[in-house]
Assembly symmetry: C2
Homo-oligomer: 236 residues x 2
C-alpha cells in the first residue's frame, strides 16, 4: 500500500458481510483501518474472527473498542436471559440490538475524523437480512447527513463518505463477490450463538441466511467445525 | 412520581448544563432515567458529580456506560498527551472529542428504546459554548431524523423526541433557570482538568464560560474547593 493511499475505516464484525466489504475497500485501493466493537455480544468469538480477517487482508491497523451495551440490555445478543430465535419470526427479531449500527457508525466516524479518512464502510444489507431498521438505505443516508453536521471534518467539508456497498446485494451475490476478491469465508463466523468451541448452531437467523446464500450460489460453505480460532483470547 | 409518568432519558455529565436539563425534565413531570458515559475523559470526577446530581433530583435510575474512546484518541479530553487550552482559541479547540455528542445520543437512544421513553434530553448549547459542531441545532435536528429511521421504535412511529432545551440560552439564563428549579450548582463540576481533589483549574474554556455565566447573572458560583465529592470511586 503506497503512503499516498487514501484512508478508510472499515467496520469489521467477523461475519461474512463485513469481510466482503473489507475486500471491496482494499480492492478500491484504500489504506484500510478496521474497527471491531466489543459490545458485550454473545458471539464474541467473532472478534477473534475479525482479527484474523483483518490480518489476512493486510490492513494498516485493527482496533477493538469495548462498549458495555449489556448495561442497557434489550436484545438477545446482549442479554443472556433473552433467547435467540431459531426460526423465522414476524417483525424485527429479538436479536435486534437497539441503536447498534448507529453506535458502530458513530465510533467509526470518530476514528475516521482522527485518521482523516475519506470513507467509512459498513456491511449493512437490506436484501437477505433480518429486517433490522438500521440496515436500510434510508438509515445509511441519514447517518451520512448527520456525519456532515456532527464533526469538525464535516464542518470543513471533508466528512467521510458512508459506504454500504452490499446494501442491494443478495447473500449469494455477496459470497460470489467476496470469493472473486479472495475472501476466505472459513475465517468468518456468522452464528449468533456458537458454542464455546465456536461451532455454529445452524438454526439462528444468521446461520440460516448464510446457508441459503451458499446454497443459492451453488457452493459449499467452507466453515470448519470447530473454526480455526478459539474464544480464549476474547472470552468473557 | 406516579407510575403513569412518561419516561425520559437524560444525558448527565456532572456539569452545569446537564444538571439544569435534568431539573427541566423533572419539572415537566417525566420519570427520569439518567445516563452518564465514561468515555475515558480526563475529568472523570464529573461522573461522581453526575451521580450526586441524579440522586438530588430523585431520578428513577442512574446508569453509567463505559466506552473506551481513548482507543481512537484525537482529543485533549481523552488523550493526556494533548494539552487543554487555557485561553480562547480560533476555531474548534483541542478539547473537542470526535463524534462525542453523537455517541452520547446514540447510547441514550438505545436505552430510550429499551425503556420506551418518550424523550431523550441533552444539554447541548450553542450560545456560550466552545464552538463544537455537535452542539448546534442542525446537529440535534439531524439526530432526530436519524432516530426515526435507526430503531424499532422509530419504525413504529414512537422514536423519542430529541430535546435540547438549553440550545438557545446564554449561560446566565441557564443558571437562573436551574436555580429557579432548585439545582444545587455546588454539586456540579465544569472544569476540563480538575486536580485529583477535584479543584477546578479556573483557566480552561469550560471554567471560563461558567465564571462568565455566574458573573453575568450577578451571582456567586457556589462551587466548593475542594468539591463535596472525590475522585476515588471513579478514578483511573
Amino acid at each position: 500500500m503506497s503512503q499516498a493511499a487514501e484512508r478508510a475505516v472499515v467496520l469489521l464484525s467477523g461475519g461474512l458481510d463485513s469481510a466482503t466489504v473489507l475486500a471491496l475497500a482494499v480492492s478500491e485501493g484504500y489504506a484500510c483501518h478496521t474497527l471491531s466493537v466489543d459490545y458485550g455480544q454473545r458471539h464474541r468469538i467473532e472478534l477473534r474472527a475479525a482479527e484474523q480477517v483483518a490480518r489476512a487482508h493486510g490492513v494498516v491497523e485493527h482496533r477493538v473498542i469495548r462498549v458495555d451495551l449489556g448495561a442497557i440490555g434489550g436484545s438477545a445478543l446482549t442479554d443472556l436471559s433473552i433467547a435467540v430465535p431459531e426460526r423465522a419470526v414476524a417483525g424485527i427479531p429479538s436479536t435486534y440490538v437497539p441503536a447498534r449500527n448507529t453506535l458502530l457508525l458513530t465510533l467509526g466516524l470518530g476514528w475516521s475524523e482522527v485518521l482523516e479518512a475519506k470513507a467509512l464502510f459498513i456491511g449493512a444489507n437490506a436484501v437477505d437480512y433480518s429486517g433490522y431498521p438500521d440496515c436500510r438505505p434510508e438509515f445509511v443516508a441519514a447517518f451520512g447527513q448527520l456525519a456532515s453536521l456532527a464533526t469538525r471534518a464535516g464542518i470543513e467539508g471533508r466528512a467521510p463518505e458512508i459506504r454500504a456497498p452490499l446494501m442491494a446485494m443478495g447473500k449469494a451475490e455477496i459470497i460470489r463477490t467476496g470469493l472473486a476478491l479472495g475472501v476466505d469465508y472459513a475465517q468468518t463466523i456468522s452464528c449468533y450463538q456458537p458454542d464455546v468451541a465456536g461451532r455454529r448452531c445452524g438454526r439462528c437467523d444468521s446461520c440460516r441466511l448464510r446457508q441459503q446464500g451458499f446454497s443459492d450460489a451453488g457452493l459449499e460453505d467452507p466453515a470448519q467445525e470447530p473454526p480455526p480460532f478459539t474464544i480464549a483470547a476474547s472470552g468473557r
